[in-house]
Symmetry: C2
Subunit: 162 residues, 2 copies
């Protein structure tokens, strides 16, 4: 499967069935989009889009209507889905909301069932990440606070008994 995610090959992933939960406060702009569409996406941002990721995560579209344009992030769409995704991530998963009104109201907790997943084949192959073989700007980001991130680091392997 190919799409307009830039000059990268995307491999569709066999992760179904798979669920995930997200917590999105009811005041957030994104929450209205999730409630209206019944869909959300989880994406794995990378070193190559560090500044764009921070901008997307630290500004609300409630306050800055042109948030996306100002962030520098480039969006794309996968065939058959209307939810925008961010170019430069290492992986993308699209979820359909499993309606659970009590969770959504009491905890802002939303359960999703995965309906599509893709990874950049330069960093993910045969069910495994291969960050050590890929360009360093494809390493995933792990956020702390205040503009402070860590990239994923060295590979470690432990022999597993058959």
């Amino acid at each position: 499967m190919r799409c307009d995610a830039g000059d990268v090959g995307l491999c569709p992933l066999d992760v179904l069935p798979c669920k995930a939960t997200v917590v999105v406060d009811s005041s957030h702009f994104t929450r209205k989009l999730i409630d209206a569409s019944g869909m959300f996406a989880l994406q794995l941002p990378t070193v190559g889009i560090l500044k764009e990721t921070l901008a997307l995560g630290s500004v609300s579209k409630n306050d800055v209507p042109e948030k996306i344009e100002k962030s520098g992030a480039e969006l794309f769409y996968m065939d058959g889905f209307e939810i925008p995704l961010v170019k430069g991530c290492a992986g993308w998963m699209i979820f359909k909301v499993v309606s659970e009104p009590h969770n959504e109201k009491a905890y802002d907790l939303i359960i999703g069932e995965c309906v599509g997943a893709w990874a950049d084949s330069r960093v993910f192959e045969n069910g495994h990440w291969k960050f050590e073989e890929a360009p360093s700007d494809l390493r995933t980001l792990h956020y702390v606070a205040g503009g402070h991130f860590y990239a994923i680091g060295d590979v470690l392997r432990v022999p597993v008994e058959a």
Copy 2:
């Protein structure tokens, strides 16, 4: 606060109120412990306990009653809590289950409210991780599959506008 976590200083963390969700299949040994005690812990394993972490995560106490002893992991307890924690982690959080029988039955999804949190002060200070200043065996682990891990890697900082 000090405890018997080895020769490390533990800093209690001001993370309250804070909730987290875990999914623990009803067949797992751990699930019975959570259901009986109404408590669970989330811990951040490190490079220094790589083999112990894999052993704890890949063997069930349903099959191997002496799982803990065989794993090589050393346990300790925080004052006032009866839940065992693993020495050598970078951080530990203890949660009290928020009873939601529908979630637990339908999704094996358990919501917890944090009642205590601590970090190894060699790697966490003033609300921030400082892996780059600490011994490399304190770097946190990120698991893929089949004995394949990544350690947390390089620090990255983006200037944040005031």
